[in-house]
């Protein structure tokens, strides 16, 4: 909205009509006699979930082409990371995908543990799994609420946040922060969970069981919701894989890739959970996959809470974590998909190069394939069900 003229500064004029096309589009110059126009959406726009900017080539309400513009929150995390110790880098990962901050912390910790051969006690592994699954639910709740709000059902936003606050309380009591946790350390976490942890988790499980049914009544089974999402933004499995999409986006297209299953980490291999997949690959499938994932996370939580062990919450602390020279990679399944941390270590306390392979980055790159041929209004459920987080993309 703020820059309709963007990219059109050096207009080539032909009889007073601007013929230049903003960068990134597949056409070279405007057709003189069509009704096409360019619409700028973002970076400040309510449905772009932050500061994504889209340039749209439109014909009336129909979207002909979408060109996303990134970098409106590119903070240079990888450069900063090169100048910070591995421990300090953990706190930077909070700020990648802040709705999966525990999982981000975990991804980096896993890489450090792999490099230094640090083992993790049983209790710490349980804490990791439970905390990550809680966060998956928390993130999906926010996604659900915001999806509803984008579709005009503002009430869903508030219902989603209602239950989300319960999980936020668990985190806050556990590590003192609500969003940027910085909780995990190589070998465990910086503190043990409080005694109230398991009772609180049980309360969340109980509450969520009825709450998800409420969500179904309000949105999932609502006919308008079906009209808005069915057949919209179909992403074929082949395209999804070519773009490197992951997480619920890929699973919505019918590919059962879940890092927790295909490349297990922590102790996920001990828990039984289903992988929901879509059959069509449209917005509705992606929606249903996430709703089902919440139920599966509850299942994992229930099993973990039942067998939560005692013992130490962390293994030996080191004065400094100097990774031996080499390349290390670890990946986890965050709420948005496959997060990979690649470290190139030179033996010192700081990485030579640290690279985050963020799920939203790849998921968003498929946007043009999803949106073409739909209406402007369909962009809203498409972006919402991609569930992209711009700071995760821009890093």
């Amino acid at each position: 909205m703020t820059e309709q003229q963007a990219g059109l500064a050096d207009d080539i004029l032909e009889n007073g009509v601007a013929m230049t096309v903003p960068p990134g589009f597949s056409i070279d110059r405007r057709e003189r006699h069509t009704d096409e126009y360019f619409l700028n959406m973002g970076p400040q726009h309510p449905s772009t979930h932050g500061v994504l900017r889209l340039m749209l080539r439109m014909d009336g309400e129909n979207v002909l082409e979408v060109v996303p513009h990134l970098g409106y929150i590119h903070r240079g995390l990888e450069k900063i990371g090169e100048n910070q110790t591995y421990l300090q880098n953990i706190h930077l990962t909070d700020r990648l995908d802040y709705l999966s901050s525990h999982m981000n912390n975990l991804a980096l910790c896993l890489a450090i543990e792999k490099a230094m051969g640090i083992g993790v006690p049983e209790r710490a592994e349980y804490i990791r799994v439970m905390v990550c699954e809680l966060q998956r639910i928390q993130s999906h709740l926010l996604w659900w609420g915001v999806l509803g709000m984008d579709l005009g059902a503002i009430t869903s936003f508030l219902y989603g946040f209602k239950e989300r606050e319960m999980i936020t309380d668990i985190f806050e009591e556990m590590c003192g922060a609500r969003l940027t946790m910085n909780f995990f350390r190589p070998g465990g976490s910086f503190a043990d969970v409080p005694d109230t942890f398991i009772p609180r988790v049980r309360a969340v499980i109980e509450k969520m069981k009825t709450a998800i049914d409420e969500y179904d009544t309000l949105l999932t089974n609502n006919v308008i919701m079906h009209l808005r999402t069915k057949g919209i933004g179909v992403l074929p499995a082949k395209t999804a894989l070519a773009h490197g999409c992951s997480g619920p986006v890929l699973r919505g297209s019918g590919v059962a890739l879940d890092v927790r299953r295909s490349d297990p980490y922590s102790i996920y291999h001990r828990f039984s959970f289903d992988i929901p997949v879509g059959t069509v690959g449209d917005c509705f499938d992606r929606y249903k996959v996430r709703m089902e994932e919440m139920r599966q996370s509850l299942r994992i939580l229930e099993a973990a809470a039942a067998s939560f062990p005692g013992g130490p919450y962390r293994s030996k602390k080191y004065a400094s974590y100097n990774l031996p020279a080499g390349s290390y990679y670890s990946q986890v399944e965050t709420a948005r998909g496959l997060l990979g941390v690649y470290i190139e270590a030179d033996g010192g306390p700081k990485p030579h190069r640290i690279k985050y392979r963020s799920p939203s980055f790849a998921n968003l790159s498929a946007l043009n394939d999803l949106a073409v041929g739909h209406k402007l209004a369909d962009l809203v459920p498409i972006i919402a069900t991609l569930d992209v987080l711009i700071p995760d993309i821009d890093r």
């Binding site: 706190h91 003192g176 922060a177 079906h226 299953r261 828990f271 039984s272 289903d274 499938d285």
Partner: protein
């Protein structure tokens, strides 16, 4: 799909898509049309029932009235509100030895430990500067302190009109 041999718990399950809005172009029939219409209307009525349930049950309201509940509002003991120095219970002097570990541990250059020599020529804390405006409350400083001399305080009402008010002098404030 091939899976790991040891990892066969759970299964891959297609999600249900519901019936009342048919996928693709359904064959048109009046009965089918009316059924979909009726089911659709029913789904709307159910949604209205849910919200109405909340409307008529004031007990379900979860709002905490913040400025009014100041007396009862307590943060969790681990809540990271801001950095604070721990002082010796007897003398009131800070436990800090000006070793500078927290300064090094801080990822953001938030802490400045300004040491001085005491008359016995030992290094002691002269001033403890805490740039709250830059702090991410990551707890790394507290973890790094070997003397338990700093902690996270539970304050949260810290808004200021001026940027410079956020540079706190935790110790050694003069002038």
């Amino acid at each position: 799909m091939k899976t790991n041999a040891k990892n066969t718990q759970g299964r891959v399950r297609p999600v249900e898509r519901g019936e009342f809005v048919p996928d693709g172009q359904a064959h048109w029939s009046l009965a089918g049309y009316l059924t979909h219409l009726a089911n659709g209307c029913l789904s709307l009525v159910k949604g209205m029932g849910l919200t109405f349930g909340y409307f008529v049950h004031p007990g379900r309201i979860v709002t905490q009235q913040y400025p009014e509940n100041r007396e009862t509002l307590a943060m969790f003991p681990r809540f990271r509100g801001r950095l604070a120095l721990v002082t010796d219970a007897a003398s009131g002097a800070p436990l800090c030895t000006a070793c500078g570990m927290c300064e090094k541990a801080c990822p953001n250059g938030t802490i400045s430990i300004l040491a001085r020599r005491d008359p016995a020529n030992r290094k002691v804390l002269g001033r403890y500067l805490y740039r709250f405006s830059q702090c991410t409350l990551c707890n790394l400083c507290v973890e790094s302190c070997a003397f338990g001399a700093i902690r996270m305080a539970q304050d949260f009402e810290l808004a200021a009109y001026d940027r410079s008010d956020l540079q706190l002098v935790l110790y050694g404030k003069e002038d």
